[in-house]
Every structure is written in C-alpha cells, then in structure tokens.
C-alpha cells in the first residue's frame, strides 16, 4: 500500500511537470540550442583545423554541456515557488524527497537528454572519431545526471535570488565531473581504458542521489520557516 502510494506520487509529479515542460517548447529547446551555439563558437574562435578540433573536442563538448545544463537550473523550483505549488507539495505531507527527486529527473529529461542527443552532432562537427562516441555518451549520461542533482541544490539555495548565484555555487563543485568526463573521452581517443573514470562518476551519482536530494530538501525548507 505504502509502496504504491510513493510511486503514484512520483508519477503524478513527473506527469504534471512533463506536461508543463512540453507545453512551452522553450524549456527543452533553449538548452539544446545554447549547447550547439557554444560548440559552434570554438571552431570560429580557434580555427577550423581538423587535428586541433578533434583533440579539443572532449573539453569543448563537456564545457558546453555543463553550461547548458546550468542554464535551465533556475527553472527547477522557481515557478512552483512563485505560484505557491511548492507550498502545497510540502503541506500535502507526501515525502519531499520524492518531490526533489522527481524535479531532478525532469530537469535531466529536459536538458540532459537533449544535450546527449545534440552531443552526437557536436562530436561530428568537431571531428571526434566514431570510436569515441559510445564513451562520450556514457560519460555525458552519468555527468549530466550529476549536474542536474547539483543544479537542484544550487537552485534551492538561490531560490528567488539572482540566477548567476546558482551558477557560481554549482560550478566549483562540478569540476570533478568535468575532469572525469573529459578524461573518459580523451582516454578513448588514445585507446586507453576509461572504465575507471566511468565507475567513479557512477559512484558520485550513487552517493549524490540520496545525499544531494536530502540536502536540497533541507535547502528548500529554509524558505518556509
């Protein structure tokens, strides 16, 4: 009985937020376009040499992905906070952990997933070899999920304040993700074993889901004291 009610609660929030997100196409289009624009800027700024671009590609794709996933961070809670939906969620006595988890999942679905798909286009135009596509996608899959978790915490802490604040809060903490993510792709470029990096990213995600979600709940509750 209890089990089904929690999963019901999760589905309700997911369905509601997905409907809201898809009614306004800008929510999932903007990070995608932003990602592609940032990727395009690197060849324009550094010159179109194939060898240069393919060696820079892991870093370029990862920096663009980090910035794009930060772009939509502010929207995770701000709208629900402004119109009072968040208050209702907390009053409803349903587990707030599930609420935060659902919000993170939605954020990943509308930013992480489009970026994952767009990264393949980015990899093509940056001349990344085909062999590196699979490691790139796995690293982005784990990395953008962790970024969504961190982003939710940043959004909760800077709720109702400047958007740049959440970026400053989140960016220093995203450095391990950036380093591991780029290392995965770079090691695959020189045919080295990259599974170790992926495992650490996975471990960070595994600790991050309970840890960061709980801290995000705490941070959200700060606004209701």
């Amino acid at each position: 009985m209890m089990q089904s009610s929690i999963s019901d609660w999760l589905t309700i929030i997911l369905r509601r937020d997905l409907i809201i997100a898809f009614r306004r196409s800008s929510t999932y289009i903007t990070p995608l376009i932003f990602f592609l624009i940032v990727v395009t800027f690197f060849p324009l700024a550094l010159g179109p040499q194939e060898s240069l671009l393919s060696s820079l590609a892991p870093g370029v794709i990862w920096i663009a992905a980090l910035l794009a996933s930060l772009l939509a961070v502010e929207t995770i809670f701000s709208e629900d906070f402004r119109d009072g939906t968040l208050d209702d969620f907390f009053i409803s006595l349903e587990p707030s952990f599930i609420l935060v988890f659902a919000k993170v999942l939605i954020h990943w679905l509308i930013t992480g997933l489009p970026i994952l798909i767009a990264s393949m286009i980015a990899a093509l135009v940056l001349y990344l070899p085909f062999e590196s596509f699979i490691p790139m996608i796995f690293s982005l899959l784990l990395g953008t999920s962790f970024m969504s978790l961190l982003g939710a915490l940043g959004a909760a802490l800077s709720l109702g304040r400047s958007a740049i604040l959440s970026a400053i809060i989140v960016l220093p903490f995203s450095i391990p993700t950036l380093l591991m993510g780029t290392s995965v792709i770079s090691s695959s470029l020189i045919n080295q074993d990259f599974s170790g990096y992926l495992m650490i990213m996975g471990a960070m995600l595994a600790i991050g889901i309970p840890g960061l979600c709980l801290l995000t709940v705490e941070a959200l509750l700060l606004n209701y004291e």
Binding site: L157, I168, I169, P172, F173, P176, L179, I200, L222, E225
Partner: protein, 239 residues
C-alpha cells in the same frame, strides 16, 4: 559557551592571552625561519617563503574542515553560535588560501621559472578558493542571517564531501608540485633546522587563526544581537 552573551564574556577574558601567545609564537617562528634557518643549497634564500606558504596552505584546508564541522553542528543542533562561527571563518579561510596561492606564485617564478603552472596542488587550491568564494557569496545574498547560516552549512557539507574527490581527480590529471614535505604522521623529509621553525610557524598560524576568528566572531555576535538587552547593558544603553 553555547549562547552568544556567554561567548562574549568568555572571549573577553581569553582574548588578551590569545593575542599575546599567538603573536609571540608566530613572531618566533617567522623570525627563526627568516633569519636563523639555514640557506637551502639548491634554492638559496628564496625557499624562505615556505615559512608563510606552507602554513597558509595548511590553514586554508583546515579552516574548510572546521567550517564543515560548524555547518554540521548548525544543521543538527541549530546552535546559533556555530552558524556565526561558520560565517566568521569563511573570509579568514579564503584569505589564507589566497595567501597560499600568491606566495606559491611568487615562489614559483624563481624556482620553476613561471608564475603559474596547471599542476594538481595549485589547481585544487584554486578550486578551494572558488568554493570559499561561493560560500561567502551565498551568505551575502540571503538577508535573514540565520537562514544564510543554514544555507551555507548545507553548502559546506557538500564541499567537504566533494573536496577529496576534487583533489583526487585533479591529482590524476596533472602533477608537478613537489610531494608534501610536511606530515605529522611520518618523519620529515627535510632538515630539522628547517622543519622546526616550520612547525612553530604552523602552530603560530593556527593560533593566529583562533585570534582572528575570535575577533571576527565577537563583531558578528554584537552585530546580530545589537537589539538584545545584554548588548545594550554592555554599552551603557546606547543602541
């Protein structure tokens, strides 16, 4: 010393002693290091910046640890003073980290031939500085001080969990810096003539931090409690 008035009274008593002892030890350590410690046979007198560089780098990391402990206490027991401690320690920690970066850069120019290298230890210290900046920035944007304390507590706990990961990941990424010469657990790899003044400098820096923290915290306590009776009584009824 849990409550602010009690802390204020207690710190008034301890402050003169703390200032004398900390400045004395810091002075002895620095004087010894600067004038009596032997000249390094490879680096010459340049190495003497070590007596500032190493303690400030150690302090930069220790203060973050201290802040995370304060944050933890603040989250669980909601002790007011721990939040104020967290807030007062942040700028000191950021300053020591910056001092470590600047002295390292000045030391790097004559010995490595460059002001900055993208080496693991330098980079992780720089990231630590950014994290300090994020904590200070977050605190300053939230008007309600108690809420700001708790928000920063949350972030400092994330920080202490992620800093080891940052350090390890940056280690894999690049390493050029000489390995740490200063550990308590193993015998020192440097000459005792240099190790002893360094040890005194480190102790001096810790005491100096305690002094700065006390001064900072006293101001913070007065600022937050300025409308309370005990502060009014203390300053003769002036608001």
């Amino acid at each position: 010393m849990g409550s602010p008035p009690l802390f204020y009274k207690w710190s008034s008593k301890i402050l003169p002693w703390l200032s004398i002892v900390s400045i004395l030890i810091l002075g002895v350590g620095l004087y010894w290091g600067m004038f009596y410690a032997p000249t390094d046979y490879k680096q010459g007198d340049v190495y003497r910046i070590l007596f500032i560089h190493v303690p400030s780098a150690i302090l930069g990391q220790s203060i973050f640890m201290f802040m995370a402990i304060c944050g933890f206490i603040n989250m669980i027991w909601r002790a007011k003073i721990s939040g104020m401690m967290l807030k007062s320690a942040a700028p000191i920690g950021a300053s020591f980290t910056l001092l470590a970066l600047v002295t390292g850069s000045i030391w790097g120019k004559p010995t490595w031939g460059t002001w900055w290298v993208w080496d693991a230890r330098l980079t992780s210290t720089l990231i630590l500085f950014f994290i300090y900046a994020a904590l200070i920035g977050l605190h300053s944007t939230i008007e309600d001080k108690t809420k700001a304390d708790r928000a920063v507590s949350i972030l400092s706990i994330v920080g202490i969990a992620i800093i080891p990961v940052i350090k390890k990941s940056v280690d894999w990424w690049q390493t050029l810096h000489q390995p740490s010469t200063f550990t308590i657990t193993s015998s020192p790899s440097m000459s005792p003539d240099m190790y002893q003044p360094l040890l005194i400098c480190v102790i001096g820096f810790y005491l100096f931090f305690a002094l700065l923290l006390t001064l900072n915290l006293r101001n913070e306590v007065l600022e937050r409690e300025k409308n309370k009776n005990w502060v009014r009584q203390l300053f003769g009824g002036l608001s």
